[in-house]
């Protein structure tokens, strides 16, 4: 009897251990779900069904033999396609990397293999993770399982949609300015951007190195914690990974969050926030209050400056990070008349418009004569944003904002207006600038579309976020709702 595609990862593992089902059955159930809905959702860029079946069969035998198995043994997991997987395509949603197969695994991929996960496939994303809707993928958009005419959010839209649609219980995304939390919010799933340095970036194809962070997406907070535990911790291959002990997030969930202080960012309920979103957040705050948490008001005066600062810093780093795609060593190479023309033709054909826009923005911001006015000034804003949060955390243990001002917007609605598109990240970007952990979880609906609640924590205090989120989910059932498509 195959399990429902909406079983949690820990539920699957428990069922395997109790021999109520087998990894093969779970993989078949997942593949059947993919077959039914993927043609409309288009969450995946690559799917390796054969390899998943082979690995599942191996786990079947080990469970049948009653062997000790690692924590995610036999659980299907999806990976955002900017995580390097040895010998398997890793496109970053870009033509320029079409056909490239990395010779190595990202650290998180290696850790997932060690944890026993079955890597089902690679998910769609905005090209090089630059975008808020997954419309910027060179291979076509992913659609929101709650409403196929809407975007799933971005840039980890494929991972969020895959979890929401019941394709996999767990997925990894990456978050530079909201790229895990926004799609989690839009798709009604749980997404965590860990503290900068919590998870190794080795093997994550860089967008903006000082902001990028890999994190888990899941259907509930407890699964999210389980996946975080599998990937977090210092890595000698990434010197920006913090030398702090792993979070042991799942073990921390048991303690009730009674008595913790929740800081509500008053500035985040102003103009531009949809009334339905504001109402859902307020309702969530009442629930938290009912759980014994104290609600405080906190201010983030630099909130408005964070967005423009981000759109200087992230493109500046991206302009250097993406310089290596030049057609010389891997990926697309367009014929040119000479060396410079080869560079030009390769990048003209290989990159989409949003990537080009950001490379130009970033190159400009770093140019002689503009560096001080743009890059340096944006760095100062970044420092101020971090100080704002420090002040807020003097009054609160967790800071709350909406994930985004609105629920998922229609495909094509903002594609022609980058500034409108960028506004979707107004509440998530400050968290990246400050390097803090941020958790997105479903807290209601607005016009039939999920609304995301964002909990922000102190550096390396994912445990508190997850504790609060877990208690909230014990008291609510938003995370148990299923999208109509599935």
């Amino acid at each position: 009897m195959p399990e429902t595609p909406f079983e949690t990862a820990r539920g699957l593992v428990a069922a395997y251990r109790a021999q109520r089902t087998r990894p093969s059955e779970a993989v078949e159930a997942a593949l059947a779900q993919v077959e039914r809905h993927e043609p409309r959702v288009r969450a995946f860029l690559h799917l390796d069904a054969e390899r998943a079946r082979t690995e599942a069969a191996a786990w079947d035998r080990r469970y049948a033999a009653g062997e000790d198995t690692p924590p995610l043994a036999g659980v299907p997991v999806a990976l955002k396609d900017n995580l390097c997987t040895r010998g398997a395509p890793t496109t970053c949603g870009s033509r320029i990397l079409e056909g490239w197969r990395p010779p190595y695994d990202a650290t998180v991929v290696a850790r997932l293999r060690t944890a026993g996960a079955i890597l089902l496939g690679k998910t769609n994303l905005d090209e090089f993770a630059m975008g808020s809707s997954t419309e910027n993928s060179a291979f076509g958009p992913t659609r929101n399982p709650w409403d196929l005419s809407r975007v799933p959010g971005g840039s980890s839209g494929g991972s969020a949609a895959a979890v929401a649609a019941g394709f996999v219980p767990l997925a990894l995304g990456s978050d530079t300015g909201g790229s895990i939390r926004l799609p989690a919010g839009f798709c009604g799933v749980v997404g965590l951007k860990p503290t900068y340095g919590r998870v190794s970036r080795y093997g994550l194809v860089a967008f903006a190195s000082s902001l990028d962070q890999i994190g888990p997406l899941a259907r509930d907070v407890e699964d999210c914690a389980l996946l975080l535990d599998a990937i977090a911790g210092p890595d000698p291959l990434d010197t920006t990974s913090a030398r702090v002990p792993p979070p042991q997030a799942r073990a921390a969930l048991g303690a009730a969050p009674r008595g913790l202080r929740v800081g509500v960012v008053t500035d985040a309920f102003g103009a531009g926030v949809a009334p339905g979103v504001a109402a859902a957040i307020r309702e969530a705050l009442r629930t938290l209050e009912g759980l014994g948490l104290a609600i405080e008001e906190v201010a983030l005066p630099t909130l408005e400056a964070a967005l423009p600062a981000y759109y200087l810093l992230a493109p500046a780093e991206a302009s250097a990070n993406l310089a290596r795609y030049d057609g010389m060593r891997y990926g697309l190479r367009a014929a040119g008349a000479d060396l410079v023309d080869t560079y030009r033709q390769t990048r003209r054909r290989g990159f989409g418009p949003e990537v080009k826009r950001r490379i130009m923005l970033g190159t400009y911001a770093l140019s002689a004569g503009y560096y001080d006015a743009y890059y340096l000034r944006a760095q100062k804003v970044r420092t101020l944003v971090a100080r704002d949060f420090e002040r807020a955390f003097a009054r609160a243990d967790v800071v709350v904002m909406p994930v985004a001002p609105t629920p998922a917007f229609a495909i094509g609605e903002r594609a022609a207006d980058p500034l409108q598109m960028y506004l979707a990240d107004v509440f998530t970007i400050p968290v990246n600038l400050a390097g803090l952990p941020g958790l997105a979880l479903p807290c209601g609906f607005d016009g039939g579309l999920p609304v995301g609640l964002q909990l922000i924590g102190r550096p390396f205090d994912e445990a508190t976020l997850l504790r609060v989120g877990h208690a909230y989910q014990q008291a609510t059932d938003w995370h148990r709702r299923r999208p109509p498509v599935a």
């Binding site: 900017n82 093997g203 000082s210 010197t239 920006t240 780093e317 250097a320 310089a323 770093l366 002689a368």
Partner: protein, 484 residues
Amino acid sequence: MATPAGAPRTVVGLEIHVQLLTASKMFCGCAVSFGAPPNTLVCPVCLGLPGALPVLNRRAVDLGLRTALALGCRIHPRSQFHRKNYFYPDLPKNYQISQYEYAGHPPLATGGALEIVTEGARRLVRIRRVHLEEDTGRLVHAEGASGSLVDFNRSGVPLMEIVTEPDLRSPAEAREFLTALRRLLQFAEVSSGRMEEGTLRCDANVSLVGDDGVPGIRTEVKNMNSIRAVERALAYEVARQAEARRRGEAVVQETRHWDERRGVTFGSRSKEEAQDYRYFPEPDLVPLEVDEAWLERVRASLPELPAARRDRLMAAFGLGGADADRLTASPAMARFFEETVAAFPDARVVANWLVGEVAAYLNEHGTEIDAITLTPRRLADLLRLIEDGTLSGRLAKEILVAMIKDDLDAVAVVEARGLRQISDEAALGRIVEEVLAAHPGPVADVRAGKDRALGFLVGQVMKATGGRANPEAVNRLLRERVGS
């Protein structure tokens, strides 16, 4: 230095790239090795593959710190790496990880100085900064291949850049500075310091200042593969700029390449765009923090530097300053000297042979003491054969050359060539008699008190013995037999 009145003054500053003696690359674990097959010493990091991240080689920092200490620089407790952005096929990320210097972002070390001796006087040349960076790959123009290929074995090899203030006043001073710097780097065991192999590379900025004090336009000279080439290229460039000045023509600010074969510098492009490298802090590396404990470890591990070694050799072995200078021209020579003295304790004799015959051989063959087959033990054995009278000094010089060429011990050469000195008085007496009989004229001259004639007779005996006769014995026997 002496400058004719009205002649422009020469101003030279150097930028030196030093390949550090580390086993692995700057930001990955790949081996540093010369001459491996192309693209065999590479990994995702030094190939700049998507997703790969740099990890700083602390050994390279150690060597940078050693250099900074040896040059008396100010070492910054917190320095930063930057990205230097430009496109070129030998640069896999299309940016180089380097240390740039601007407000709030110091490189590893700044300030400092190195003493040079120029025209008999000691002078300090100021060092502007010492920083660390990674090397690029190498373009290879393969026979029969269309276009260029890239070998990334060198990509990511640790480099240290040393920049001087424009304190050098002539091409000869530039040569002196480079010689002294190379010596320092070798003694500090920081680099092999071989310009010919590219482990030491030097670019020079040169300009002329008129007697009105107005500095002229500066050119940058590149592509010099030896210290001598630097001196020659600078001399050419100084003359070229002086000639332009004399004719009232403008010197163009440009990069010029030295053509060793033609002995000229030439500009690569007439119109050069100013490169904007768009430096910014490298977000993949945390700032480099050097605390007092780290510095103390480096200080404790710093090998004896040339000046200290020179003073010690003078004090311990009673050597003169000139000999001590030559014996500390390289750490290999200093080590060779001390090891030879350990086996043959007459330090003056060892010093004489090393700065004399051995140095002459090295000079003539353009090689180094650690690149030839001679060992301290072999040299000591040779000197012992002179001491016990088995060999004459003149013979020993020939034997030395044969030892080096044929990779042999002194005794083996002596036996193989039958070169053992003839000291046997009976044998020598017979030869002396023959010579006296054959040259009655000179014999008469000697008797008449003309000592030059005695020299002639000694020469005849040496000729008859193939140079193997013991000169002292020959002298004595001749005087006895002539009865002068």
